[in-house]
Every structure is written in C-alpha cells, then in structure tokens.
Symmetry: D2
Subunit: 323 residues, 4 copies
Amino acid sequence: MANSKYEYVKAFERCQPDILLPNTWIVIRIDGRGFHKLTAKHDFSKPNDRRALDLMNEAGVGVMRELPDLILAYGISDEYSFVFHKDCNLFERRAAKLVTTVATTFTSYYIHLWSKHFPDKELTPPMPSFDGRAVMYPSVGNLRDYVSWRQVDCHINNLYNTTFWALINQGGMSATAAEQRLAGTISADKHEILFKQFGINYNNEHDLYKKGTVLYRDYDLERSNPSSATAETSLSSGVAAEGSTDSIKAQVTPSMASADAAIAVISKTQAEKEKKRRAKVGVKVEHVDVIKDDFWQRRPWILSGRAGKLKEEVSKAKRGTAE
Amino acid sequence: MANSKYEYVKAFERCQPDILLPNTWIVIRIDGRGFHKLTAKHDFSKPNDRRALDLMNEAGVGVMRELPDLILAYGISDEYSFVFHKDCNLFERRAAKLVTTVATTFTSYYIHLWSKHFPDKELTPPMPSFDGRAVMYPSVGNLRDYVSWRQVDCHINNLYNTTFWALINQGGMSATAAEQRLAGTISADKHEILFKQFGINYNNEHDLYKKGTVLYRDYDLERSNPSSATAETSLSSGVAAEGSTDSIKAQVTPSMASADAAIAVISKTQAEKEKKRRAKVGVKVEHVDVIKDDFWQRRPWILSGRAGKLKEEVSKAKRGTAE
Amino acid sequence: MANSKYEYVKAFERCQPDILLPNTWIVIRIDGRGFHKLTAKHDFSKPNDRRALDLMNEAGVGVMRELPDLILAYGISDEYSFVFHKDCNLFERRAAKLVTTVATTFTSYYIHLWSKHFPDKELTPPMPSFDGRAVMYPSVGNLRDYVSWRQVDCHINNLYNTTFWALINQGGMSATAAEQRLAGTISADKHEILFKQFGINYNNEHDLYKKGTVLYRDYDLERSNPSSATAETSLSSGVAAEGSTDSIKAQVTPSMASADAAIAVISKTQAEKEKKRRAKVGVKVEHVDVIKDDFWQRRPWILSGRAGKLKEEVSKAKRGTAE
Amino acid sequence: MANSKYEYVKAFERCQPDILLPNTWIVIRIDGRGFHKLTAKHDFSKPNDRRALDLMNEAGVGVMRELPDLILAYGISDEYSFVFHKDCNLFERRAAKLVTTVATTFTSYYIHLWSKHFPDKELTPPMPSFDGRAVMYPSVGNLRDYVSWRQVDCHINNLYNTTFWALINQGGMSATAAEQRLAGTISADKHEILFKQFGINYNNEHDLYKKGTVLYRDYDLERSNPSSATAETSLSSGVAAEGSTDSIKAQVTPSMASADAAIAVISKTQAEKEKKRRAKVGVKVEHVDVIKDDFWQRRPWILSGRAGKLKEEVSKAKRGTAE
C-alpha cells in the first residue's frame, strides 16, 4: 500500500534496544501500581488479605496457562515474577513485547476475576494496573538467587507486618508507636513479641503468607533424594548432578554447545511440540521453600525446559522407568 | 533489612537500558494480541464493530484520565497510541514503566468495560491482552508525521475493508474472490466499486471508521484561522507561529534553552500544578483530520504542554482575555 | 562459505542496542586515559603545556579531515568533543562504530604526531589512549548548551589552575597549601590573587587556554549582525531567524517534515556531494566564544549542515549574491 | 564549582545503555577500517604480509599488557578479539569505556610500532584506524564457539586467499579469472589446485596464516591429558571437570552462587591482587588450535580467571605441589 510519505517514522522504533541476550534466563516482574490506595479503598484485611492473594494467584495461573513458554512464577503481596527458560525464543526475545504481554495478560485476569474474589466490592476508577520489567540472568545460580531473594523478602516483610499489625489490632498501638516498637528488632525479637504478647506462634501462620506462592507445570515429582535432605549443598546429588551435566553440556564442550544451538535452530517443530505438551498439563500452585535444592531437584523439568513425567502415566504404569 | 545475601541480583536490573532521551516526544503504542481470534470468537461485525471500537475508545479515555501527563491519544482498530509531551518526566522517563503502565491501565479498563459494551458476550480464556512499545520522536514534525502515518493507515485499511466486506456480504463473493477482485486496485477503483455495485458513497461512512479516534484535553478551541484554512503549510499563521516561537525558545538561544531546563528542574511544583489542571478538564473524543495543520493550530495546548483556556471561563467571560 | 556450526554466536551481537535515534545531534566525546600520569612522565608544563594542546588540536583536525560528516569539534585539556549533524547517517548511526572510529582516528594522529610536538620525548608503554562515549541531543538548544557547558568548564578549570600553579610556581606554596588557599574562593578572588600577588592579568592569558579550541569547516563568515552584537538573545536576528525557519520547516508542518525525510531517503547522491564539498575546504582552528549567538550566526553552515560560501568565490566575485 | 546552568546536558548521557550484563563473558572485537586501501597504499604482500601480522600481534600484546583484566586475545588478518572474564568488573562493565579503551590502546601501539615493522613505509593520512564492538556471551560454550568461529573463518579465508593468489601470482590469472576458477570449489579442490598446479602443500603453510594468533598469560602448562587427546568431548577429563566444577559452583547451588557474589563484592583487594599477579607474567603468543578441548584443558587459568602456576616456581621447585 502506498503510505510511504509518513512511514519513515517507523525507523525510530529500531532505536529502543529490545532483544534480550540469548542463553539467559528471563524474569518478568510485575508490581501493583499504587496498591496501598487500592487496599485502603477496598478495605483489604491486614497484614494479609486472603481474597486479594487468591486473586493474584489465580491471575498468575491464567498467565501460566496462556504462555506455555513460562517455566515458573513466584508471587508475594502485589508482585509476581514470571520466568522464561534461557532457551526460550518467544517473540524473538523482544523485551517490550514479553513484558507487556505478561503484564496485560495478568491484568486481564485480575480484573476479570475480581468480582469472583470480591463479590461485594465494585471496581471503580482509578483502576488497578501493574508496571513490569524484564531482567536477564545468565546462570541457574543467578536465577535461583533471584527467586531466593524474593522469598527471603516475603519472609522478612511478612514477619514484620504480622508483628506490626498485631501491635495495632490486638495491642491497640498507633501505627507510629508500633513502628517505633519494632525499630531495631531482629527476627527473634519479633517472634517473641508475637508469642509472649499475643500468643501467636509465627510458625503456625499460613505458608501462603510466610512463603509466598510458586507456580509451575504439574508433572510427577522426582522421588526425594534422602541424602540431599540433609545436605542441600552437596554437589554430587540429584539436581546438582543434573545441573552440572547440563551446564557441562551447555558450557564446556564446543561441539555440544553448538549442537544445542543447532537444535534451537533446526527443531522449531520440536520446540512447538514441547510447548504443546507443557500447555496440556495443569499448573501447580504451592507455598513451599524455593531456596533449598530440594524444590529444584524434585522438579527437574523446571530448569531443563523439557516436559516431565505425566502423572497419569506414572499412576497407570507403576514403574520407575519413565524417561 | 538484612537480606543481603541474594540481593546482588538487583544489579542485573540496571542492564536493560531504560531511560528515554530527554526532550523527545514519547509515543506508547499498544496493539491487541491475536484479536482476529477474539473477533471471531465474539462475532464482531465486519468491516467495523461499533461496540468494539466504543470499548477501545472508552478504555483510551480511562487511560487519559489516569495519566494527566498524556497530551494526546489516537486509536484505530485494535491499536491505540498514547503521547507524552517531550518535557514529561513521569517515572523519570523509564521506558518499561511507562509502557507497562499505559498498557495495563488500558487493559484494566478494557476488561472492566467489556460487559457494558458486550452485555451478551462473556469473556473466557484466552483473555484479551495487548502488547506495547515506546518510541521517541525528537521533533514536532516527527511526532505529527507519526500521527499522520497512523491516520493514513486507518484510511487505507478502512477503504479496503469496507469494499472487501461489501463484496462478500452484499456481493456474495468468497473471501478469496474478493481479495482477487481488489488486487491491484487504487482508491478510486474501490470508491467506484462501492458506489456502482453497492450504492455506497464511501464519503458518507462514519468518521469513526474513516478517521479513527483522537483523544485530548477538552479546552476551549482557538478561533479557526481563515487564512490557514486554505493554506495549511503557511508558516506565518497560528500554530506555526506558536510552534516557531516555541522551537526558537527551545532550540536556538542558549540562555533560553537552559532557562527551560532550569524551569524543568526548579518548578516541579509548577509541573504538578499543570498536571492537576490537566486532570480536571474532560477528555474530548473526536473523529477528525489530524494530518492538516488546522487540528493543531486550534488546539495549541496539545503541543505546548500548557493548560488551555477552560471552556467555562470563556462562556462566562465572553472575552478574549483568558490566560 | 560453510562455517555454520559456530556462526550462531553472531546473534549475540544484536543485543547491544546501538542505533542512535534519527534526527538527533550526535556528540562523541573522548578523554585521555590516565593523562595525569602521562603529564608527569613527560614533564608537561603547568598549568598548560602548549605542545600538548597543539598536539591535541592537530589530532582533532586530522579527525575532522577524515570524517567530513563532522560539523564541529571542541577541545579542552585532554578531552575533545566531535559533533555529527542530526541528519548524519554515517555507519547507519551505529553508536559503537561512530565512537570507536572517532576515538581510534584521534589516537592514530596523536601517536603519529607526538614526535613532531615532543621531539625529545620518546613514547614508551603504557601508551596514551582515550576513552569515548556517544551522546544524543534532540535540539539545537541542547547541543549549544552542551558546547557551552564544556567552554564554561574550560574557563572555570583554567582560572583555577592558573591561580593554583601561580601560588606554587611563583608563590612557593605546596600543593596542599595552594588548594587550601583557593578553597571557597570565587572567580573575582582568583583574578585578584593573580593580579595583586603575581602581577598577572588573567584577561591577557592566551585564548587557547581560556576558551579552548573550536574546529569547523572554513567557509566564508557571514557579515556580523550589528544588532546581534549587543543582543545575543534577540530572536529576530541572523541565525535565530535562520534557526527558527529551519525548525519550523523541520518541526511544524507535516508536509515539509516528511519532505525532509523524503530528501534524506532520495538524495543519497546529494548527501554524498555535500560530503565531498565539506571534505574540500580546510578546517579552521579557533579559540573563541562559542556560548554567545554570534559564533553560530556568522557560521550558519555549521548547524544547517549545508556547505557555506567558499572563500575564493567571495573574493573573486565581490558581490553579495552567493548562494 | 558553579557551572550549573548548562550542566543539565549531562542527563542525556544516561540514555545510552551501557552496563554489560554481569556474569557474562565480554568480547571486544576490533577491525581495521578500510584496510584494503591501506594494504594497497603500502604494498602489503599477498595473500599474507608477515610484517603486517607481526605488527598486529605486537599491538595485541601491548593491549594485553596494559589491561591485566583480559584473559585472552585472538587475531586474524586485520581483526583482533579481546576477552574479559565473566567476573571482570573493569570500568563497572561500561561498554563504551571498555570498547574505546581496548580500541585506542591497540591503535596507539599499532601506530607507535609501525616504523619498527615497516621501516621504509611512512604513514600518511588517511591514518589507520579501527572500529570495535562489545559482545556478551553467557556461557563458556558460547565463548568457545565464538573463538572457534573466528578460527574457522581464519582457515576458510586463508585457504581461499592462498589459492586465489597462487592462481594470480604464479598462475598468471586475472583476479576475475581466479575468482571464477574458485567459484563453487570446496576445501579439497583448493588443496588439489595448490598441490597439483603449484606444488604447494597447504599443510606446510605457516601456522600464523592457517591458525591465526592467540594471546594469553604465560603460566605453566598443565600436563597434557592422554585420554583427552583422543576424546576431546569427554566430560570427565581435565578442563571439562574443572569447568564443570566451576559451573556447578556458579550455577547450581544457591549458597555458593551467592558466595561467589559475596566474593565479588567483598574481596576487591583480592581481585586487585589477582590483577597484579596477571600483570607480572608474560604474554604468550601462539598459533595453535583453539577449537579443540586440549588448548583449554592445559591452560585452565584462562577460563578460571585465577592465576596459574608460575613457570619459574615450577622449574625451581621441581615438585608438583604448586597451588
């Protein structure tokens, strides 16, 4: 079509650097914008509003279902992190497209599901919205440290908030007084305040609040490795070995590295097939430790990017031969 | 808070270049993802579905209301472009934040308002979502050419689609046959097909379809400049003079350019005041020519970034002294 | 050629964002690396070493000669800024290529010409080197403010250094004592120290030291505008009018803006012709005020990016008709 | 210092994305600009000019000496690639600074050493210059594939050029005829032409031409691993194990990954110490296969980024206890 006179402006679009580096793990993190106002407007309960977290998680599951390239998601409070595998080539790894697709799909579910979780609260402007960003992590270690960082944050914030709101709601303190009371305290102090002053054993709080929520494709778990239970940092066990094999393949020998690349190029059809397999299985919603090795060792498909064992197959077969 | 062990991963976030160049116009364009499937699923009427366009436009207005920094928006089909002034410093001009905020706010309204415009169509997964991008334009000329590009696209696509669907719906052709019939035709040919074969005068089609939709702050229009009506390219009239003064200030004399910068730094309070003034006036929804000078000359507040004359003031005062 | 197995690594090169935004002025600034060691090693005289500055300037001229796309350069101390016109399309505006080409060409001349300026000082490792960066400026105002910033820096630094070294060399102070003496002083104080204590009238210092060095294509100067001599900020005079006309053309009217773009696309041959014309004229080396309008008004070819009047033509013709 | 009026322009410098992603290998590749003209101007011999390559290599050694952070360099023809370790934090990993420093230091040596290698050829404008770029590689596999890519290129180009120039210089063909003669030929064909027609056994050509030049810190080689000689892809041997341990540490266990990060932060002093150790040993210049594992297995300090065994220590001590 003719249209040439003004079309030169398209050239300006090339100037936003956008292609994320190949062979790096991509994390898209979204955050609720101005959610303190939203929580006030709709009287969210403190320190945690179960309905609000359920809504976040159901929206997260919606995103996982629509984007089979995602291997994992982790949510706390009003934020959610979505992880694409380092080999993922969705949208040719264009950052803007990845981040807006994840953020608007999440928003779409959030608004759509609002009335299910808050049947008595009508949404009115200003409407909930989310900002987002894309970050690259070159190694599995970096990626796991990212997830660990978020879960440690969850723990620290929730312990603080639980104590803070106990001082206010049950202790009758003002917000300022509660803040001053907690200034300079360490974890043990907060546990003690909760227990001695309010009879709350923090360890009995719901894992949803203490550990956040992790989403992943629901394949059959690997049998727990007894040796790894006590020694998560052992390099010789389970996933560590898996990981090491993987990284040797990916990193050390040139022929295999290029073989990888070759695969990435050649077997688009296989990539599509994997994607369809991932799309078929359900999305598991859990509130567990994602810092220790155990989580990753028992779910090797997350980091391998390959489909795991289907649960049905296993139950039918009752054999340990899969894969 | 303690949290230092994993926190180093934050350093990886700095590596996505994100700050948009100061003193450039920022356009955020969003596009419906896979909307051909959506239109099929919900039986959108062809070539244009009035309800769908009304929904897009109402979502656009929602975005304009929530982000007073926006000076203009232009929508066609399932895409919308939002324009921030070159002096805008929202989110410190971080691209990811700007693009995700606009895209998710739009999505939020789109989903929320869906049932109003499609009361009989329930949304089900996959849900509507939008991708987005940020583009910088250094000059007013580039920015206007961008808007012109989109409006020319609107015209070309709508003329094609109107003829295409007339051949199918009224002419009983197959899609393939209609496509072949239109191959190689120019505008005049399509006008003739519409008129001779189907009695449709394209010029009588609704401007919503032919011109798309422009959104801007609803200040009092400048009096049309009679001389400019016939000579849009005249440099001596209306906005051109406005523009030239502006650009002289901004571009030629160093003292004033730095004065501008000084203002940008010093009077954050004034910028806030302007923002509030913008937030107060309504958002005008129009289907008009945005290619010719007239549109911009009569609405000088769009490019100047300053509040225009309030309509009430004018009607009360009946004097030309405002501002 | 076969070579495909490893060639996938080329894909990683796309991920460094590199294309500079069209329609923006490009400044490449280079800085001597660790030149304080170099100055010590080769006993540069203080506060200014004439030979070292002459070497910098001759290297700068070499760069201007080899890259006709450059419109201006400005040097002080061990730094040099080179300016490409906003319409320049050299290396398709790839930042890395522009910055390394300028930086290595400068280095090449610097080393080659070293023995001419320092016949008695042999270069030995570590060798002189320069780092560099590319910065974009959207408007003429921004660009002139950049140049002004560097010249103000030159002035401030030179006044300080001149006084500092007078206190040491003539006043017999230690570096620490001189530093303390100058702490908190303003310009007037330093002028007074120089004059009263050492009989130095700073205004009589060489302009090379006080104003730095500006390089540009040596066309025939415009006649000085008498009105502008006293009122540099007047918008109605000389270059300001030039500039304003230019910016109106470039920024306000869409047809002309796109005409510009069209030209940019169509007449590569014309661009080449301009380049050749620029390559033919000499490079002027001056130590003058580049902050006030006068410099730019009398050399309109710098900002217009078009060839100016050749000096010979003028002297032959003795008429005011040129171009 | 006062200087604030124009200083706002510094804000524009933030907009060039510059920080290279942590934990990725950085390759700076520089290429001679317009060297075909240079080779013509100075009558370089064909297909290879020994003096020109010696000059390139000596300049490369100069760069390695001045930048102890470099772990490796590889040169062919008029290009050179320099590799920084993935943990390197030189210039805070700012791309522009890294690339210009490497490129101008190389240029500095190239010009300085020219007269030594070409005593009878005086440099005149246009002067030699180099463009450069920075590329990130996340894994050792990617990095080795990059180096392999360049060495395969060296081989392919040199075989072609050797045959091409034999056809011309000894065969009396025109360039066009030689080109046509070689069109569609594979390696074996070129070997045959060389041998049958000109009595040249390509395998006897100098390794400098066939394999290019690799530069690295000259520590004591590891004993060749007999098993690896026949099985380069074996994962259990030498460097592979080294690499695997490394990558396990870096990638799989979170505690160790963060320990790594902690080290990177804490022990700047140790990093400095390593740097000094690297600066002390010589730079080895070799023309060997860098595609197979053997090269990397016997020089584990290259990829580990830690100092290797000093040659003197070994010869003195005659014991296998070092480190």
